[in-house]
């Protein structure tokens, strides 16, 4: 009997399922990315107001969507891991955090590169921007917690506590920041929501969004697999130590 196997519950089925999905995710990512890039760089027309800069939207908005979605997913996984003690859930949360952080970073960078031609500055302390920055901090904190514990079981619990406390706060932050901003500076910031979105823009946007999602699934599978194998390696190493 190796060390405390119940903590490392059988991830065989998980690996089998993800193994089946993985090739599809790779294929989808490649195809969707190619189509999406073609549509957004060559097909989509320049906006009558924003000119060609509107093309930034095709990498900016999907990144922002992913950033928000991944955090939610991470919190749900953490809750599952904490309540049902399912180790794969913990590992999924752990594996998705760096991906989410990357997307958040991309949303910030592309957004501020967009901001310069649109608003004449790389950064304003706008509600949306600020809450995105805070989201990046939340991701970094979550990742740092994982790194700070030597014992993965402890780290998982600590990280889950943090993710859950953080997720309670995301709507509060969103709400407060939105509200704070409008109090000082009524909607001067150009956001393009509303009915204006034309299908020549909407379709590439959606395709890119799907491409990013497929990419996320692909990388997540790789990372979760790596995490599971790392756990397994640890168990074996400990067992080895005991034998010697």
């Amino acid at each position: 009997m190796a060390i405390d196997l119940h903590k490392y519950a059988n991830p065989k089925r998980f690996l089998a399922i993800t193994g089946a999905i993985y090739p599809w995710s790779v294929g989808l990512t490649v195809v969707l990315l190619l189509v999406g890039l073609y549509l957004s760089l060559f097909v989509a027309p320049p906006d009558y107001q924003q000119g060609d800069t509107v093309r930034i939207m095709f990498v900016h908005v999907p990144a922002a969507w992913m950033a928000l979605m991944i955090y939610t997913m991470m919190a749900i996984s953490s809750a599952v891991g904490l309540i049902w003690k399912h180790p794969v859930a913990d590992l999924t949360a752990k594996a998705s955090a760096p991906i989410g952080a990357c997307f958040t970073f991309l949303a910030l960078v592309t957004g501020s590169l967009w901001g310069q031609p649109m608003w004449g500055t790389f950064w304003v302390w706008d509600a949306r921007l600020t809450s995105m920055l805070i989201l990046l901090f939340l991701y970094l904190g979550y990742m740092a917690i994982w790194e700070s514990f030597d014992d993965p079981v402890k780290a998982a619990k600590a990280a889950a506590i943090l993710a859950l406390v953080g997720v309670i706060n995301i709507p509060i932050i969103r709400f407060s920041v939105d509200w704070w901003n409008t109090l000082h500076q009524p909607a001067s910031v150009a956001t393009m929501d509303g009915p204006k979105i034309h299908s020549t823009i909407l379709i590439p946007l959606l395709v890119m969004g799907l491409a990013y999602t497929a990419f996320f699934v692909m990388v997540l599978i790789i990372r979760v697999k790596a995490e599971i194998l790392k756990r397994r390696l640890r168990v074996l190493q400990i067992a080895e130590l005991r034998e010697s």
Partner: protein
Amino acid sequence: MSFVAQNLACQRADQLIFEDVSFSLSPGEAVWVKGRNGAGKSSLLRICARLLAPLRGQAAWHGEDIFKDYDGYIGDYHYLGHLDALKYALTVRENIDFWAEFHGIPDVASALDQFDLQALSDIPTGMLSQGQKKRTNLARLTASSAKLWILDEPLSALDLHYIALFKERLIRHLAEGGMALFATHQDLELEQVKILDLDDWAS
């Protein structure tokens, strides 16, 4: 009233320190944990004080598992570790006072007396010598009503006089139906002591 540990195993930072350690304590008994440096004595003591989770195995107090949120163990044991748990800004009396109240024992004076601390009682503990700190730490032990004493190197820094005094106090504790689990490299010959050698496991 008894403490029974069965097949305890301990892992620290990916290293298995010991496994299959079992022992039991009944009223009036003491267990002396022996072993070379790094054998896992302190770790075992911390497990028994619920400050460290064992990798495997059970420990039971009154027959109930202490790791299963068992409240019956609370207050029945007192752990004294390497660290002195003294607030250096507070005096000896203030330090002991707080812990006595915390453990629900209002009799601080006798605790002070037991280790000749009356003369030092108004000195901030930061200004004590190493041995005086240790004595304060030990006095706190007697200012708790714990049945089970878990002592990690209780003799270090004490001079011969106070080692004898401590031994006397320990014997009285055992005679009154108490139990003790301790680790020390120094000599502490007692009558009713069982020896648990962690080196046996390693070799």
